[in-house]
Symmetry: none
Subunit: 193 residues, 4 copies
Amino acid sequence: MTKRSGEKHQVILDAAVKTFARAGYHRTRVSDIAGEAGVADGTVYIYFNNKEDILISLFQNIMNRFVEELRSELVLCRDANEKLEKIIDYHLRTLGSKPEQARVTQIELRQIDQKINEGISKPLLTYFRLIEEVIEEGKKQALYRPDLDTRTARKVIFGAIDEVVTCWVMSSKPYSLAELKNPVFDLLIRGLQ
Amino acid sequence: MTKRSGEKHQVILDAAVKTFARAGYHRTRVSDIAGEAGVADGTVYIYFNNKEDILISLFQNIMNRFVEELRSELVLCRDANEKLEKIIDYHLRTLGSKPEQARVTQIELRQIDQKINEGISKPLLTYFRLIEEVIEEGKKQALYRPDLDTRTARKVIFGAIDEVVTCWVMSSKPYSLAELKNPVFDLLIRGLQ
Amino acid sequence: MTKRSGEKHQVILDAAVKTFARAGYHRTRVSDIAGEAGVADGTVYIYFNNKEDILISLFQNIMNRFVEELRSELVLCRDANEKLEKIIDYHLRTLGSKPEQARVTQIELRQIDQKINEGISKPLLTYFRLIEEVIEEGKKQALYRPDLDTRTARKVIFGAIDEVVTCWVMSSKPYSLAELKNPVFDLLIRGLQ
Amino acid sequence: MTKRSGEKHQVILDAAVKTFARAGYHRTRVSDIAGEAGVADGTVYIYFNNKEDILISLFQNIMNRFVEELRSELVLCRDANEKLEKIIDYHLRTLGSKPEQARVTQIELRQIDQKINEGISKPLLTYFRLIEEVIEEGKKQALYRPDLDTRTARKVIFGAIDEVVTCWVMSSKPYSLAELKNPVFDLLIRGLQ
DNA sequence: GATGAATGAGAGTTCATTCAT
DNA sequence: AATGAATGAACTCTCATTCAT
């Protein structure tokens, strides 16, 4: 009789994305999320520990799916160059097609206190590691210079993509995010070689 | 003969950097700043409209000095390549030597509501424009390829530096930020050519 | 089966009358009202928008009941003279039996900002109109002179009663307010004829 | 060299009437009064003990002049009837010609805490006594009935005039206050006889 | 599991008043 | 006498969280 467990969990998460994207994390009240989700305030606390937990769960949810899907796309690529291109393509395409998620990822997520960052940094680290794996692979494949500092390269790559997304989120979005793939790739790829 | 003018203003600003860096913007109470500054709570409101105003003033203060000093260093450079190197060097060196300011710039500043972002984006735009000028100059000097998209290049450059700084701020800082200048520069410069 | 609805609303209103009468509107803190009502501070804001709203609701509450009851008593009167006598009697009797309400009505209510007076003047206007109706009736019944200015007569009647009440409230109340009915009536009635 | 003492006292008082009438007692800050008077905030405290003292001084100032002038006009009257007419006339004429003072007298003055009311009630009592003297005189002159309760009659008379003024102050003043003298007098005089 | 009324700690802000100059 | 920068007590209102139903 009861609908499948976890349904409300997702309903609340979806409502949270909308309200966070609309009003920002700090301006959003838990009752706003509950209202948007069509549940009582107290119900939110059955599925989440507190307000911050919602934001973190949101991000973990998004990032896990993000990395998982990205990984499955990467297996089709032949070499590191193709993989790097795919990463940029996938990153821009995914966030570009979900402006609300993009806003939460780029803006709202950075509004929470440092101590709880662990919940955020863990899924993010998986993504970082994935990028670093590709760089290492490129070095093994002799595509990238052997003295390349993998860690720094990862920061540069991620930072570049991230900034491109943030600028797009903050703008009135008069252009498609995905179309920036080529220019960004061109700028980054030669630095690695 | 007392140098009253602006004295307290700066004292409060200095206290704010410390407290924001220590506890974060949202966790800092106005009375904490006042206490750190050695003034009464009400005094803060003689010099600033509200808490947010302090954070914004802080950033404008920092950024104006940042861009001004950077500009004066750039005149000594011969070509766009040297200028770009100088930008990266100056950016990393400056924030690397002021960890408290760096934390406020990289973390706390991103905690305020979007609507008031104008106070933040304006001084930032000046910096963006400066980077774009250098890129344009490099194109005129035939150092960078003519089909390079200046705007995207700027985002990639700024995003890369910014991410490098953020990672350093979030870390326990076991390395000097300035020493990343060469690897970052090497990664970016070839993408422009 | 619990008669929850509106229960706390009234409890808070009752507590507000007491505290306003005791300490005055401006000297009363919302937490005082909450304490007197036996609820948390925040609960007050579930039922009222703000402190001023409590005072206004209080008055509307009182005045609505006042006019309603007065109206029901007036139907028993034969002519305008009897009705006027009843008005004076009822006004003095009602406030005379509720010194706390009287103090709020005569003193505290006049402490709020003009702009929000609408909430106050509306129920008061109902009372004014009722008095004017009786005067008009008296003119139709040829009890009062036809050239009598109804509006001015109402002001004189209400002002007289109101002042009598105010003096009583401000005094140590060594006399019963109701016993002033006859002298006041005698003074007013002949002016109308 | 110093201008005559008390000059600033009056300047501040004049500024207070304006600001109180404009914004109301509680909404007026001491710095507003000082600004309007063209003096420093601290200067206000050389001439007055505190904010309330300003309001009270204001009223005493007004009332003393009021009663004094009224008294001097009354000596020209032949009997109690003429005197009562003069009182009503003078009261309405005076306040009707000074809307700002009227607003302070009718509205703002009633906003202060009871305990300090002595400063207000004393000069008011002088006015009350003056009215009662006229009533007593009328009784002695056999113009008014001997069983008339002087105290109550005074309350009725003052309350009536006061209400007429208050209604005018609260209105957009589309009529002259002075023109209400006759209707008010007609209404009151017969009640005394 | 679901509800939503109730809680109460918490913080930003105001402004009357003071006092060193 | 005059100034006005500085003070700091005071107070309203918000909202994340709880828990009896």
